[in-house]
C-alpha cells in the first residue's frame, strides 16, 4: 500500500481547475475556511466560477479575495449578509455576481445528496415561503414538503485539521461544518491540512472523512485566521 495523495504545494493542489467550474468551499464564518487554497486559486487564475459556501466571504481574505478578484460568477449560500461581507455586498449591488440563497439545512442536505447518489429529496423546510416558489411540493403525512435536488461540484476546497496520506481527515471543533458533505460531492476534492500523518496516524474509529472522498492533500501547517487578525486589529495589536 503506497497510496499517497499529498501534492508538493498549493499551486499543485489547485492545478487544473477550469474556468466555469463549480467549486464548493468548506467553512462557516471563520471556522473551516480553506483560505490558503483560495489564495492559490486566485494565483491559478480560474474565472467565471460558481462558488458554494455557507456564506459569501467575510473580511478581505479567502473567498472575499476571490470575489474581489472578479473570479466568481455566482454564489450559492445560505447567509451572504454576515458582518464584514462588504465585498460580496458591493459586487451584488453592482450586478456583478449572481446569488442563490438556500436554507442552511437544505444546502447541507443537497450537497450530501450530491455525494451520496440521492436523486432528490422532500423536505418540509421552506414550504410556504418564497424560497419554495416554482418548486415541486407534496403533502406527506399532512405536512407540505418541497422537492430539493442534489448539488454536485467539479471541485471542493476543504480545510482539515489532520490528514493521512490516504486522505482520511479529521477537523478541529466546529470547523467541521460543511466539509464532510462537500468532500463527498465533488469530482476533485482538494484538502489543506494543518498536519499530515502516515497511514495509521489517525485512529480508524476517529476518521471523520474517509480517504475515498479525497483526491489531493497539501500541508498548510499554520493556516491563517482572519478572525484572529480582525480581533487583534480591533484591539490595536
Amino acid at each position: 500500500m503506497t497510496i499517497d495523495k499529498r501534492v508538493a504545494g498549493l499551486a499543485a493542489a489547485v492545478a487544473g481547475i477550469k474556468d466555469g467550474a463549480v467549486v464548493m468551499v468548506s467553512g462557516f464564518g471563520d471556522a473551516g475556511n480553506p483560505t490558503e487554497l483560495l489564495h492559490a486559486l486566485i494565483e491559478q487564475g480560474a474565472r467565471d466560477l460558481c462558488v458554494i459556501n455557507n456564506n459569501a466571504g467575510t473580511g478581505r481574505l479567502g473567498l472575499a479575495a476571490l470575489l474581489n478578484a472578479g473570479r466568481v460568477r455566482k454564489v450559492i449560500c445560505s447567509f451572504p449578509r454576515s458582518s464584514h461581507s462588504e465585498i460580496f455586498q458591493q459586487l451584488y449591488r453592482d450586478g456583478k455576481v449572481e446569488l442563490d440563497v438556500v436554507p442552511q439545512g437544505t444546502l447541507a442536505e443537497r450537497i450530501r445528496a450530491g455525494g451520496a447518489g440521492i436523486g432528490g429529496f422532500f423536505t418540509p423546510t421552506s414550504a410556504g415561503t418564497p424560497l419554495a416558489e416554482g418548486k415541486e411540493t407534496r403533502i406527506i403525512d399532512g405536512t407540505e414538503h418541497v422537492l430539493e435536488h442534489p448539488i454536485h461540484a467539479d471541485v471542493a476546497l476543504i480545510k482539515a485539521d489532520k490528514a493521512d496520506h490516504l486522505g482520511n481527515l479529521t477537523y478541529r471543533l466546529a470547523a467541521r461544518n460543511f466539509a464532510p458533505a462537500m468532500c463527498m460531492a465533488a469530482d476533485l476534492t482538494i484538502v489543506q491540512a494543518a498536519s499530515i500523518v502516515a497511514p495509521g496516524g489517525i485512529d480508524a474509529e476517529h476518521v471523520v472523512t474517509p480517504g475515498i472522498f479525497v483526491d489531493r492533500i497539501v500541508h498548510v501547517p499554520d493556516p491563517i485566521s482572519e478572525a484572529e487578525i480582525l480581533r487583534d486589529e480591533e484591539a490595536g495589536l
Binding site: F28, I111, T125, R176
Partner: protein, 231 residues
C-alpha cells in the same frame, strides 16, 4: 398610550423566555438560540440547568462566550461568536446538525421575528426590501423543525406597527410554526383556538394590548401579570 406601564427591557424579555425553558426535565432540554436577542436567553438560565445548547454550525453543548484573548475561532456559534463548550459536548457536521433540527430533536428554538401571524406563521428573514441582500441561514430549518418555537420580540416595531398580525406581509420563514410569542408586553400562546394571552404587563388591559396587536387576542383563563426578574 398607557403611561403607567413599564415594558420589559431586552434582558428582562430574555429572562422571561428562560423561565419557560424546562431546567431539569428528565433527559435534559435541547435548545437552539437564534442570532441576536435570542442569544441573551442563555444569560438567564442557571449554570446547573439541565439544558444543552445546540449551534447549527455543529455544536451540542455550547458553553459561555469565550473570554477576550482566549477565543478559538474554530469554536464559534452560528452567530460567529467565539464560545466555549461544556463537558459532554459533541461536534458534528452540518448534515447531522440539521438532521437534529429537521428531524424534530431540538426541543425549543428561540427566534426573533419581524411578524407573527394569528396561526403562528413566522416572518423573520426578509422584509421583502429588494435593496437588502436576502439571507436565510438556518432560520427556516429551525422554524420548521424544532418541537417548539419561542419568538422573542418587541410587541411593536420601531414605527409602532404591530408585529403580531392577521396575515404576515413580509416573506414567510415558516407556516404555523410558532408556539409562543414573548414580547415586552405579554406572553401569548399560539393555539388552535387562536392567540391566547397568558401574561400581560402590569397596568395594561387586554383592550390596550389588543390595540397594539394586529390579530384578535383572547385572555387565557389563568391570564396573569407578566413576570419579570426581581433584581
Amino acid at each position: 398610550m398607557t403611561p403607567l406601564i413599564t415594558p420589559l427591557a431586552r434582558e428582562q424579555m430574555a429572562w422571561r423566555v428562560a423561565q419557560d425553558i424546562p431546567h431539569n426535565a428528565p433527559g435534559g432540554t435541547y435548545v437552539n438560540l437564534g442570532i441576536g436577542m435570542p442569544e441573551l436567553v442563555a444569560n438567564h438560565l442557571p449554570d446547573d440547568a439541565d439544558i444543552m445548547f445546540h449551534c447549527e454550525n455543529g455544536i451540542l453543548g455550547m458553553g459561555p462566550v469565550a473570554r477576550r484573548g482566549e477565543e478559538d475561532f474554530d469554536l464559534i456559534t452560528a452567530g460567529k461568536k467565539p464560545v466555549t463548550v461544556v463537558p459532554g459536548a459533541a461536534f458534528f457536521d452540518s448534515t447531522d446538525s440539521f438532521a437534529m433540527i429537521r428531524g424534530g430533536h431540538i426541543d425549543i428554538a428561540v427566534l426573533g421575528a419581524f411578524q407573527i401571524s394569528r396561526t403562528g406563521d413566522l416572518a423573520n428573514w426578509s422584509t421583502g426590501d429588494n435593496t437588502v441582500i436576502p439571507a436565510v441561514g438556518g432560520a427556516m430549518d429551525l422554524a420548521q423543525g424544532a418541537k417548539r418555537v419561542f419568538v422573542i420580540t418587541n410587541h411593536q416595531s420601531r414605527d409602532g406597527a404591530p408585529k403580531i398580525v392577521e396575515t404576515c406581509t413580509y416573506p414567510l420563514t415558516g407556516r404555523g410554526v410558532v408556539s409562543t410569542v414573548f414580547t415586552d408586553l405579554a406572553v401569548i400562546d399560539v393555539t388552535p383556538a387562536g392567540l391566547m394571552v397568558r401574561e400581560i404587563v402590569d397596568g395594561l388591559g387586554l383592550a390596550d394590548l389588543q390595540a397594539k396587536t394586529g390579530a384578535p387576542l383572547t385572555a387565557a383563563p389563568d391570564c396573569r401579570t407578566l413576570a419579570r426578574p426581581q433584581n
